[in-house]
């Protein structure tokens, strides 16, 4: 799951997958702005085949919160 999230983030932010780790977040990734946040949500939904509720969308600002949300959804 973690690797798939890294893949998605790498593809959306156009950054190498090696630059990502479990601590990566909105604050540590320069390319992660509010526009790319939309793309990230779209891409996560494509990859994991789910719909993320609007309340959750705004909270998914780190790898950890994304993994938690995905675990909850599955």
């Amino acid at each position: 799951m973690e690797d798939r999230v890294f893949q998605v983030m790498s593809s959306v932010f156009r950054i190498p997958v090696e630059s990502l780790n479990i601590e990566s977040s909105f604050d540590t990734i320069d390319q992660w702005d509010s526009l790319q946040h939309m793309n990230l949500i779209f891409a996560l939904e494509d990859e994991f085949g789910l719909t993320i509720d609007d309340e959750v969308v705004a909270e998914l600002t780190s790898v950890k919160s994304i993994l938690e949300a995905l675990a909850d959804a599955q």
Binding site: S11, N39, F42
Partner: protein
């Protein structure tokens, strides 16, 4: 490649990014796009870059400031934004453009609505004229979408003061204003949204959070639609549609099923082909040149055109035709030479993976489309939706273009130039299996003798018992060939039956299903048949071509392969002296598994 149902087409962001990485956009001419908008649409960028690249353009996007449409149109802000643009996209979300409408349609009384309408029309005129003073580039204005949940509910559509009618009136004036400005066009967002459904078109979350109304899917669809306009403007639109016949213009194979046996009628499934033909004829009326490229006997195809009661297309609709057994890439090159058009303006539609892949490999500039032969009902609308032939105008001359080419048909002698088949065959990774006909193969072998017309040297029809009795004799053998390639398993595609009389082996039956023709399969079956004859103790192989209405393509099969004409017989009898050795197996195959021990 463009496929029928867009299966396998990149649509998600990840797929688009991956596909974009494969395209070298550096050499493409730039196409500068300025985006004026009162909504967040930045997510359209990768989709636009991808679809533009496929149309041969390098899209360079610049976004105007959020909700500054009127200001930027009037020249405030960065003056280079519009001045350098080849195209201006205007995304104007009605609910943000009009504060009154944003407050809720039903809250407005008729006088207020009239005032809103007048103001919207006025600002629209300001925007369009303002853009025109700054650039002569193309302007694409997005139509207002109908309300997903109209204010007056089920009454809305029939109510004169309803929201739907109000929006329709606004769209009418938007269209009229566009028509008055040269180079200004309406993108019909409403049709796109309808096709997708509002639930998938909008994304309420990002609309609410960041004034971004559209889903990723909607962005993809919008980009695809916009690029149709770019293509038409830059001259990249397609001009000629080359059509296969069997399982494309009609269902079935005319050479096998006969004119009365093909599927083409007012009832399912023939109706699907008929509707497809109506659509193709409509394209011809819009100026698209139609051509035919079919592996068939020409008389069979023209007989369908002339005598089938449900045929829609006529000979006059067809500007050029190549109906023969040559490879389709060479035939299309010949069509292109005759019509004097560029290969990059040609679209080829066929049902066969093999033909499409072969043509695309040989002619990389051509656009290919797969006819959905397994579900022909899906063919209707496909060509229109792809928009490959879309133009910015339709003239009276367009409507006559097909006839014009038709009249010129005789003008040029065509020079067919062959494409290297060998290289292509190698890429197919074909595997052939040749074996004695056993109990498992018997039914299919029998069927082949009964059904095969075109590549059938003797056209002897046999029952299952007759085939079994034939091959069970000590002085006889039956072999089959089964072929696979990277497109799949074609199953048993050919058989040969031989029997010996003294030191002479007679080829009683030699046939191949038309789905296996022209890839060296016939040569392999022949070499293995000669091998089997040798195994039966023969020194000479005798063969015969019995002409029928359908099998003319095999007329020269034996003499072309080193068989001598039999001097003792009149007509189409040949012999092969096995002392000359067995012909080498064709090298088109990745692997040949030949086991004749049971013959």
């Amino acid at each position: 490649m463009v496929t029928a149902a867009a299966a396998g087409e990149p649509t998600t962001l990840a797929e688009i990014h991956a596909a974009l990485a494969e395209i070298d956009t550096g050499s493409l001419p730039p196409w500068r796009i300025a985006v004026l908008r009162n909504i967040t649409v930045e997510t359209i960028e990768p989709f636009l870059r991808f679809h533009a690249a496929r149309a041969g353009l390098k899209a360079e996007l610049r976004f105007g400031e959020f909700d500054n449409i009127v200001q930027e149109a009037l020249g405030a802000g960065d003056p280079t934004l519009l001045a350098n643009a080849d195209c201006v996209l205007v995304f104007l979300k009605l609910e943000l453009f009009s504060s009154g409408l944003a407050a809720g349609f039903a809250a407005l009384d008729p006088a207020e609505l009239a005032a809103e309408k007048a103001q919207i029309e006025n600002e629209l005129a300001t925007v369009l004229q303002g853009i025109r003073t700054q650039t002569q580039g193309m302007v694409l204005l997005h139509a207002f979408e109908m309300p997903a949940d109209p204010a007056y509910g089920s009454l809305d559509a029939s109510f004169a003061g309803g929201q739907i009618r109000f929006y329709q009136k606004l769209n009418t004036s938007l269209r009229e204003q566009c028509a008055e400005q040269a180079g200004c066009y309406v993108v019909d967002t409403q049709s796109l949204a309808q096709r997708m459904g509002f639930e998938r078109w909008y994304d309420r979350r990002f609309w609410s959070m960041g004034r971004a109304p559209y889903s990723g899917l909607a962005m993809e669809a919008l980009a695809r639609e916009q690029v149709k306009f770019f293509s038409a403007q830059s001259g990249a639109q397609k001009k000629c549609l080359v059509l296969d016949c069997d399982n494309t213009l009609w269902g079935g194979i005319v050479g096998e099923d006969g004119v009365s046996g093909i599927k083409l009628s007012n009832d399912h499934p023939g109706s699907a082909y008929k509707r497809f033909q109506h659509e193709v004829q409509g394209l011809a009326k819009r100026g698209v040149i139609l051509a035919i490229c079919s592996k068939n006997n020409a008389e069979d195809v023209w007989e369908v055109f002339d005598n089938h009661p449900d045929m829609v297309l006529t000979r006059d609709d067809i500007a050029a035709a190549r109906i023969n057994w040559d490879d389709k890439a060479a035939n299309i090159q010949s069509i292109v030479a005759e019509l004097n058009i560029g290969m990059n303006s040609v679209v080829f539609i066929d049902d066969s993976d093999f033909e499409l892949d072969f043509v695309q490999t040989a002619l990389p500039e051509i656009t290919i489309i797969q006819f959905p032969a397994k579900s022909p009902v899906n063919a209707e609308g496909m060509l229109t939706r792809l928009g490959l032939f879309d133009t910015l105008t339709v003239s009276a001359e367009d409507r006559k273009r097909g006839e014009m080419y038709n009249a010129e048909r005789q003008r040029k002698e065509t020079a067919g130039s062959a494409v290297s088949l060998e290289a292509y065959y190698a890429s197919l990774e074909m595997i052939a299996e040749v074996q004695a006909i056993d109990d498992f193969a018997l039914l299919r072998a029998t069927q082949l003798t009964q059904k095969t017309n075109q590549f059938n040297l003797t056209t002897h029809r046999y029952s299952e018992d007759e085939v079994r009795t034939f091959i069970e004799r000590d002085n006889a053998a039956g072999l089959y060939i089964r072929v696979k390639d990277r497109f799949g398993d074609y199953g048993i595609v050919g058989i040969a039956l031989i029997e010996t009389d003294g030191d002479t082996a007679v080829i009683d039956t030699f046939l191949l299903s038309c789905r296996a023709l022209g890839r060296g399969v016939e040569d392999l079956l022949l070499s293995e048949t000669l091998r089997a004859a040798e195994q039966l103790g023969a020194a000479v192989v005798s063969a015969e071509y019995i002409p029928t209405e359908k099998n003319r393509q095999t007329e020269k099969f034996y003499p072309d392969r080193g068989f001598a004409t039999d001097p003792d017989a009149d007509g189409n009898k040949y012999f092969y002296n096995l002392e000359q050795g067995i012909p080498t197996r064709p090298d088109a195959f990745k692997e040949i598994r030949s086991d004749l021990s049971e013959c």
